[in-house]
């Protein structure tokens, strides 16, 4: 396999709050290859958005990337090394803030945000914003940038782009605005686009159109995507490979077909069972019990064990790292669950846990600081 476009290794992002350290992202590793759509799935507060913002080094105080390595096209976006005094310090070959801003953000890695209603400046025309963005990042003259902007608007399927160019965001529907944002993301022909729940705020028919559009454009431009979502349906439709996140960790990593048909982690299983599927008829949907604990004080052992139907005594003690449990067409299938033999933690001999009543106090989803 060729060198991946983006490689994330053991990334840790934490928020230092008065109540304690929130481990929003706690040691995730994944790769994105060229022309691939990689899903990042999980409940609210699993750390998906924080993980994707970490890739651009856009974590604001009190948050900080505290560990791991991010490599993009052979360049180090983030990396630490041990300094002479034994403390960890930023590596010299890490891109400077200036380089991140001018070369990486927008030009190499673009972002499509969740809420198309809020992601456009209401004061300026849609065309003006798109044109200015192109002008700044691609060094084109105003006239050319305008032509390019109109071309991009046509490209993302906005009818009558010359006229819509002059209109303001409030004159666009949600789906149309999301198209504009996609146009903006594609405008500089980045190699990687991070789509942070781009269809969550849209209704289902529009969502379908947008996904179709992204699929077409992805084929045409060969752009890689990191698709952040909590919707397994979208994942099935669009992603090549999927990372399932739970409480700051990746619990399962697999090609999309394997994830759905040869699920290796109870959490993924529970997620799949909790949503309606056209290929299965069930009397009643099976939601995951309880709420996700806060990332400020994660449960001991496996973080999912308090909610896991397969939990045994050993799960309280052993914290599993994701390990390769299967191979499928050149991609490994990783899962972080001790019930697989590779972990050799004595799962089979362990006593199953009694289903405890769930403690649902506290604020659910408190980990998702943005």
């Amino acid at each position: 396999m060729a060198e991946p476009l983006l490689r994330v290794e053991n990334l840790k992002t934490q928020f230092f709050t008065d109540a304690g350290t929130v481990r929003a992202v706690d040691g995730i590793s994944f790769e994105v290859h060229e022309g691939e759509i990689v899903g990042l799935v999980g409940e609210s507060g699993a750390g998906k958005s924080v993980a994707s913002m970490s890739l651009l080094r856009l974590i604001e105080s009190p948050g900080e990337i505290v560990g791991g390595e991010i490599t993009y096209k052979g360049e180090t976006i983030f990396g630490l090394e041990e300094g002479p005094d034994g403390d960890l310090q930023r590596r010299d070959d890490m891109l400077s803030n200036e380089e991140m801003r001018t070369r990486i953000r927008g030009n190499e890695i673009a972002v499509i945000f969740q809420d198309p209603m809020e992601s456009l400046n209401p004061v300026f025309t849609v065309g003006g914003q798109l044109r200015e963005f192109i002008e700044l990042n691609r060094d084109l003259a105003k006239r050319e940038a305008k032509r390019e902007a109109i071309r991009m608007l046509r490209e993302v399927g906005i009818p009558d782009p010359e006229q819509r160019y002059e209109e303001y965001p409030h004159q666009f529907s949600g789906g149309m605005r999301q198209r504009v944002l996609i146009a903006m993301a594609l405008a500089c022909e980045p190699s990687l686009i991070i789509a942070d729940e781009p269809t969550t705020a849209l209704d289902v028919t529009v969502e379908g159109q947008i996904i179709e559009l992204v699929d077409d454009l992805q084929e045409k431009y060969g752009t890689s995507f990191i698709w952040v979502t909590h919707d397994m349906g979208v994942v099935a439709e669009i992603c090549d490979r999927v990372n399932v996140m739970y409480l700051g960790e990746i619990v399962e990593q697999a090609p999309v077909d394997d994830l759905f048909h040869a699920t290796k982690h109870p959490y993924t299983n529970a997620l799949l069972n909790s949503m309606p599927r056209p290929d299965r008829t069930v009397e009643e949907l099976d939601p995951i019990e309880g709420v996700m604990p806060e990332a400020i004080s994660p449960p001991s052992g496996c973080r999912f064990h308090p909610r896991c139907p397969d939990a045994r005594e050993v799960c309280q003690r052993v914290h599993p790292e994701a390990k390769v449990v299967d191979q499928a067409d050149g991609h490994s299938h990783r899962a972080a669950c001790v019930k697989h033999d590779v972990f050799d933690a004595g799962y089979d001999e362990s006593v199953p846990l009694e289903a405890e009543p769930q403690v649902t106090a506290g604020t659910p989803g408190g980990g998702e600081d943005r």
Partner: protein, 332 residues
Amino acid sequence: MAIGESQLDGDGGPSEDVEAQFGWRYTFGKVMQDTTARWGLYVVAFVLFVSAYTMVDSNLSRLTFGAVSDFAMAEALPIFDHPERIPPPGEIEGNVPPAFHVDGTLSHPLGTDPDGRDYFTRIVYGAQVSVSVGIVSTLIGFVGGTIVGAVSGFYGGRVDDVLMRLVETVYAIPPLILIIVFTVFISGGTPDITYAIIGVGITFIPVFARIIRSEVLSVREMDYIEAAKASGVKNRNIIRRHVIPNSFAPVLVYATLQIGVTILIVAGLSFLGFGAQPPTPDWGQMLNVSHGYMHSNVWLSIWPGMAILVTIMGFNLFGDGLQDALDPRTND
């Protein structure tokens, strides 16, 4: 597309697609629907017209049917300094009452001052001083406050702490004292209207900074700011293109009200002797001179007082109307 007057972008950037979110034509319509605001706007327009006119036309005689003497003109307008127009002594008569008075004369509609200068001409030219004072010093406060407030709110943290503590320090001092100190300090002891304008402008920077900052605090959390950061836009450009245009509507309203306040303050300064100096025809300065004649010729105090009152009322009524028009809660 954008209506000409709505160009927010001062430094040569793209401006034809720049329009504030509220839509100028719509806002104007709202203001005109409100009777008091409409009258405020009429007054403002009238005062602006008069002061603009006096800047273009230095000879008011055609306004007063040729009645205003050359002397009145020359003395009323030191800026145009026409010494040759000053008539020989003896031809002038001081303290002439207004035209409707039994002793009045039509050639001096509002009478003359103790030096024999036509009071009408001086009042009219006073508009020029007052309006430029109001607008220029408000502009200084507005621009300075916008920059300070936007930077402070956007960056937060230590920058915010330092700037806001400075602002609060200025707040703690009575404004009039501060203005006098500033004015005297800048002028180095020779008071002049220019220094008064700058002093007032600086004093009001904190007020504007506070308003802008509170707006910026909410605007900076918007997704389009994050989107701009994620696409590698410089912080400076984010402030200029995204933060300020989205936070300035309430400040605009405040600035309109502030113009009236500034005119009043500069009039007060001139009255105290720190503003316009004789013979500049400034309403406040005219009040200063006339208060010595309160018993012999009360009209000398009434005319400039009325002028100040009407102008400020105009700006305030207009500002109130603008506020209502821009407030989303009153929009239907």
